[in-house]
Amino acid sequence: MSVPRRSLVPAVLLAVALVAPLFLDARGYPIRVLTFALLFAAMGQAWNIVGGLAAQMSLGHAGFFGIGAYTSTLLLVRTGVSPWVGMIAGAALAALAAVLLSIPTLKLKGHYFALATLAFGEVMRVVAGAWEHFTGGPQGISVPFSPDSLAAFQFKATRPYYYVMLAALVLVSLAFLAVSRGKLGYRLRAIRANQDAAEVVGIGTFRAKLAASVISASLTAALGTCYAQLNYFFDPETVFGLAPISIRVALIAIVGGTGTLWGPFVGAAFLIPAEELTNHYLGAAVAGISQLAYGLLLIVVILIEPRGLVALRIPRLGRRKVEVAP
């Protein structure tokens, strides 16, 4: 009985997601919020491969995100290479960075891993700021203006971006499912349950975690390119920042529920509109009050359900939120 419903729900959701923008102003505010929610859901999902399946809490995903944004944008600005090609280059570079980062960090457990990745993100931020003649430095870098074109990955309206981000979310979620249901996911679960035991029965724990890390890093970098094309401008703090990216992405997966397919969906559908709504209704009042409300909201959510909103067991409500955000 539950089997047909399981495949039905995603299909219905996807259909709603495909049709919804047709009823919204193509260049309006609601569609922009939805587009960012989709992008951040995808980022949360990419994080989920490492943070959820391998249970390695990364606080340095901004490092990969920024590599993606900078690689494609620098290639575009300097050599005119299409951002789509730049996206692949960025993903490759991020994969390389993930391998290099894994050598000293992957054997670390729990908090140590989290703090080491945090340092990695900060290193990338400092480098992007200091290497001024290459990256443009702290003054940031702009994506050159171009007329509407899919090849150039640039549109005047938000609606095309919405579909790009939706596709990205679907693809990253499929990647998550593939990893989760494949051999790799099996190994990662074994490691998560008991790393030493997994080692004993012959699971190559390092290789399994490395694979998860590389997949997650390259997907995150690709999303960095999407972000650059959507926002047109960024500086080191925006893409490599601890608070704006690393922590936020982890929060999205955590608030929804780590290691679950729907966690990042629920997390993004909750957090991104929550940020917007607190800013919308309280942003003009006393300075700081909208941020305070946001912080308190985080606290309340975690006190109500530390395992993430998905664990509240009202999946229908949780899922529909993805679509009804303002």
Binding site: P104, L108, A119, T258, I302, L303, P306
Partner: protein, 286 residues
């Protein structure tokens, strides 16, 4: 000469890093929680000292026990209301809670105290002792001396008092401690409050040379974690060494590299330490 001066500056500033990080490592060591909100207690300590200075005319160094007390009480309440409820939750949830707390505390400060940058004026803050060709900044020296004193007090507390021993016992084995009649929840609360108090104390003693504003805590978040990891998470003695090492690295690196890269050098050392000595610089050495 420049190297020696940098070394001295680094040691002095590192003493302060040590005391603000002691609190964080204590919280981690006893409770096993990575507390992102902890740096906000630097800010709280600074505000308490600033108001003591502005209203009572009290020097921030003298007001530092007040800062300790205020943060102690506030943190005990936060532990009771929030942290206690996630002690059994997964680590990711704990981190998440402390991030919410970080944002909330900063913005409460913004609403209550306003966005002004506040700093104190004391007679010694522009003074320095000359030791041959070396300069010893008086506010750094004073902050260092008080930091050392508070670290010594913490050490005595942990070694010599029943509470201190009970706290260490809880950190080692919660179950066993409970069997000996120690209430672990009470110990967690004490550790959290004590950690916050120490960090706020550190905030008060740096007020003579650092300006306070609601976002000042953000300057210390990453730094504090670095110090704590250099010393070994949860290792109180290690945090002292870690603080000094971090201060010296920051300061000495500026002799050889651009100042802009001082944190880069620190982070590279940080990752290297994690990779090769995740137990911290000290543990297992002596």
């Amino acid at each position: 000469m420049a190297l020696l001066q940098a070394l001295v500056d680094g040691l002095l500033i590192g003493g302060v890093y040590a005391v603000i990080s002691l609190g964080l490592t204590l919280v981690f060591g006893v409770m096993g929680i990575v507390n992102f909100a902890h740096a906000q207690f630097v800010m709280i300590g600074m505000y308490v000292a600033w108001f003591a200075w502005a209203t009572l005319g009290l020097d921030p160094l003298l007001a530092s026990p007040l800062a300790f007390a205020a943060a102690f009480v506030l943190a005990a309440a936060i532990e009771r209301l929030m942290i206690r409820r996630v002690m059994r939750a997964p680590p990711v949830a704990q981190v998440f809670l402390t991030v919410g707390l970080l944002i909330a505390l900063e913005n409460v400060a913004l609403i209550v105290f306003g966005s002004d940058f506040r700093s104190v004026r004391t007679t010694y803050q522009t003074a320095a002792l000359r030791l041959g060709p070396l300069f010893l900044s008086v506010p750094y020296l004073a902050a260092f001396a008080l930091s050392a004193a508070s670290a010594a007090a913490l050490w005595l507390f942990l070694q010599r008092t029943w509470y201190g021993r009970a706290m260490r016992a809880t950190a080692q084995d919660r179950m066993a401690a409970a069997l000996f009649g120690i209430d672990p929840e009470r110990m967690y609360q004490l550790a959290f409050a004590l950690g916050a108090g120490l960090t706020a104390f550190g905030g008060a003693v740096i007020l003579p040379y650092i300006t306070v504003s609601p976002s000042v805590g953000g300057q210390f978040v990453v730094l504090m974690f670095t110090v704590v990891v250099l010393g070994g998470l949860g290792d109180v003695g290690g945090a002292l060494v870690g603080g000094l090492v971090a201060g010296v690295i920051q300061s000495v690196s500026t002799v050889f590299f651009p100042i802009q890269l001082q944190n880069l050098v620190l982070f590279v050392v940080f990752v290297a330490v994690l990779a090769f000595r995740p137990q911290g610089l000290l543990r297992g050495v002596a």
